[in-house]
Symmetry: C2
Subunit: 287 residues, 2 copies
Amino acid sequence: MKLDIKTKILIVGLGLLGGSYAQSLSRQGYYVTAITKEQHSIDYALERKYIAKGSSFVDEALIKEANLIIFALYPHVFLDWIRENAHLIQTKTVITDVTGVKQSIVYEIQSLLPKGVEFISAHPMAGKETSGVENSDENIFKNANYIVVPTEKNSLDTVELCGDLGETLGFREISVLTPEKHDKMIAFLSQLTHCIAVSLMCACEEPELERYTGDSFRDLTRIANINDEMWSELFLANRETLLAEMDNYRNSFDKLYDTIKNGDRDTMREMMRLSTARRRKFNKEKK
Amino acid sequence: MKLDIKTKILIVGLGLLGGSYAQSLSRQGYYVTAITKEQHSIDYALERKYIAKGSSFVDEALIKEANLIIFALYPHVFLDWIRENAHLIQTKTVITDVTGVKQSIVYEIQSLLPKGVEFISAHPMAGKETSGVENSDENIFKNANYIVVPTEKNSLDTVELCGDLGETLGFREISVLTPEKHDKMIAFLSQLTHCIAVSLMCACEEPELERYTGDSFRDLTRIANINDEMWSELFLANRETLLAEMDNYRNSFDKLYDTIKNGDRDTMREMMRLSTARRRKFNKEKK
């Protein structure tokens, strides 16, 4: 299957990400429908023409007409949904997702699907500190990274289809990683950074800190404004990999601590120069 | 002494901060001069009318005509300058600074000054990841915090003068802290955040991380692009206070680590909610 303008797309879960997918795809002329729990989310998306049709229950007709189904749900909700409803999905339908952890769901979902239904997993590295379809914003995909996460069960065609979806949505860079490599990258780049921001915010009881702060603290703790339901699930679903990355980081922090304690200016400056050199590659403007 | 448009201001050290001070004050009609090591910095500032006069050596005439001298130098350079040249400063001159650490310099500077010369210390919480007068930008003061750091030797009048300077430069919030309290705040809000960013950048050897990253990692490591000469000096000049804040933060990080290791979702979510509540106060938009 190739992604083209005749592809009928069903989005399951109209939150911030699902809504932003719907917004972008409908604007580009795709036929997009949605299934989500809350009727007000459907109403909101219909009003703004993010979707052509929607249902707050598992509507078999919507599932049956879809060529591509995109799941934008919490990991355990996604698993439960598939356990209950996989039998409704038609042969030759491709399904994909936006889930932030992979090893703990991809293999299981693939094993639960009927024959002829292919699941190609993906992780759009985009978001906001808000949630809900009302905060949808297709601009969050601009300049962002998109990771396709195939297993041995996936065909090259479907990997390509999934990458095409990322490109269509406007992502800047499409990469392909195994579930294992994905989870390691995300543990370091995303989960660990959230752990750091939360730990930092919890470390100081002092009131009125905001009166003395500079922008470095503000930037570092932007993500300390965190959805505790979602992130506790993501952390626990990637537990061993995250703990390993936390250990690595703590070793690095301890090394810097020792240079300060021992007045070892040379090693301290060496770490700062390595840090500066590595950070340069992350500047968005460079591309 | 009060700050008014007739106050003659000498800036010693025309880097990013000294240059931005000069730019703002000259634009507002103040008579501003400068002493700095490099002639090309003087030339640059003269061309752009950031200063009326400048010298690349310690020009006694500029020191003698100044009512207010602002030092924008590295801590040890500031101390050396005062040791060598304090005798040139006229009675009734007020001096201030922009130094990022206080206990290790304020008391010593005050003890080195001739009678009748008052040093009122200040810390503008503004900056950029670039340096040099060529990167001057008075807009960095907008919405930023400014901390006046008096000791028992300072008069109320001079504390007020220093606050007026901060207001004139356009800072949003002027606070007054003791050197001890300042160093503790800055250890937590600024030095610790730089330690975290550097440690994080040094923790992972993986190439191509930038292809998989989201904005959280980018924001958190913006300050990992760090001036190793300046920051190693600042860290060591505030060593004990910084180590104590690093310990506090590490305890908090370890607590979160344990919740993940033990699958203790309730405590994890409690930390996330505390973090979210505390972070809200830092939103700039709120003011």
